[in-house]
Subunit: 296 residues, 2 copies
């Protein structure tokens, strides 16, 4: 008898047992006793678009192809209707090359790097602001019952976070079902890997919900809008510019989502308050992100 | 009667009441009720070194001059013995210009940007690795009694974090006394502002302890070593590369410091275990960083 895949399970989820992603190191604890612990591994991955070297990213490198595609998409160097003829990954050189039918040249663009706020991409190009100006995010709904079901599932999913800490997580979901859960040392990498996965598998964005452990900064808003996802949920807080851009783009922006509580500062009209709050538990110590902090 | 300044108090600490640093915005909470909340403001600050535009950083912009100096120092564009003839800050243009006696030219360097892991600087230059190779960090000690006193004081200091969240904090301390507490939307900015403050006031590093809310990544280690501070403590976790570099540079690296617990993965020999752990409290809900998460 074969078992059918659980239709409620993730399509892609963290594999904390993957030995390439963590390393065991020895140290001492508060009592001076020798202890061994897991730490997350970060590796340099250099991304090329055709013949041009674009960037070197530090990543856990579990999905170099999705990361390369998603990075180029979110930097506006690859367009959703570009024909990608191949993505070559050379493990030894740690290089991913995205090849397109269209000839590309971003030399000028690479000079215009602007450094953004922490936990951030490091680079945002001025023309990404056009994304906000031209945003046409679809009507969609977020039922609060979905939101509570999603955060409960995500918090209890085995992850590198629970194994080694010091990592960000992002989840692409539809209704109350998490589809893809990506982690990375940089939050922007986790987002980009989801964008690359969506592009590769031609997954529509209009009905999706994007969950992140990270802050709702201008950069996160720009990326979400660029991906066409109308609803973003975070455990963490907001920056003023993130809120302003979300309002301009009519993106639903929900932050500080922990246990029963959350706050929406943009696009509130997509929220359907169908959950009886008397039946939502506060986060238990077991289910909240480990040891009272979210690793930056 | 005049009051003398408390010799145990900070020299510089957050001013959560500063109206330029937060903004009040309206939204809805989990019950659909209208609420007002504070969010952190981020602004673009463009840093020049003499006639050359170096970078545009997103910052809360409370100390543009310290940020400009510290950024240039930590990027190895300004050396500790450079003579700074002035730092001009133009509030309207949001530009800070650092002027040096020495003629500077970093055009080649600006092309060699490497994007680092999230919550990171965005740029690390290859030659910063030389800092690690040539590191000669001083002998120093960290008594565990200091560590517990420091974290207790820091966690109970009024801050933008407690006011609005979504912000990183860094503290420069000596023994059990926190001296300078800086916050910023990017952790790297908070570190750079401390570096700028130390440079401006010719503060020696050999006896200092550096506390951060952020992860102990390669970048944080490189910055600490560059600043000459021998001991780094964080609430958050480690990356493998961060640990490796700290060991190479003989930096004392302590992470996951919360309540009674911590773990040291490099430079353990500087730690003096003088605290009777029976007298250390676990973090109370009141004293730990708000609501079970550290904002990214």
């Amino acid at each position: 008898m074969t078992t059918l895949p659980d239709p409620d399970d993730y399509l892609l989820r963290p594999d904390p047992a993957d030995p390439r992603l963590t390393e065991r190191v020895r140290g001492v604890d508060q009592s001076g006793a020798s202890v061994e612990t897991s730490v997350t591994v970060e590796r340099a991955l250099t991304i090329f678009l055709n013949a041009q070297e674009i960037v070197t990213a530090m990543t856990i490198n579990d999905y170099p192809e999705y990361l390369a595609l998603g990075f180029l998409l979110n930097q506006n160097m690859l367009s959703p209707d570009d024909v990608v003829t191949g993505v070559d990954y050379d493990e030894e050189l740690s290089v991913a090359v995205v090849r397109t039918e269209r000839a590309t040249d971003y030399e000028q663009k690479l000079k215009k790097k602007v450094q953004t706020s922490g936990c951030a991409q490091g680079t945002v190009f001025g023309d990404l602001m056009e994304v906000i100006e031209n945003a046409k995010l679809p009507a969609a709904e977020l039922r609060t019952s979905w939101l509570y079901a999603l955060t409960r599932k995500i918090n209890t999913t085995p992850s590198l976070y629970l194994e080694a800490g010091a990592i960000h997580g992002c989840v692409l979901a539809v209704a109350d079902r998490p589809l893809v859960y990506m982690e990375d040392v940089g939050r922007h990498n986790a987002v980009d890997k989801i964008a690359g996965w969506m592009f590769r598998h031609r997954v529509p964005a209009h009905d999706k919900i994007f969950y992140t452990t990270g802050r709702l900064t201008s950069e996160m808003v720009i990326k979400s809008v660029r991906m066409g996802i109308p609803i973003v949920v975070s455990r963490s807080g907001f920056t003023a510019w993130g809120v302003e851009l979300a309002r301009k783009a009519n993106l639903t922006l929900i932050g500080r989502a922990r246990g029963k509580r959350f706050i929406a500062l943009a696009g509130e009209e997509r929220i359907v308050f169908d959950q009886d709050l008397a039946f939502v538990a506060e986060e238990s110590a077991k289910h909240r992100r480990k040891a009272a902090v979210h690793e930056d």
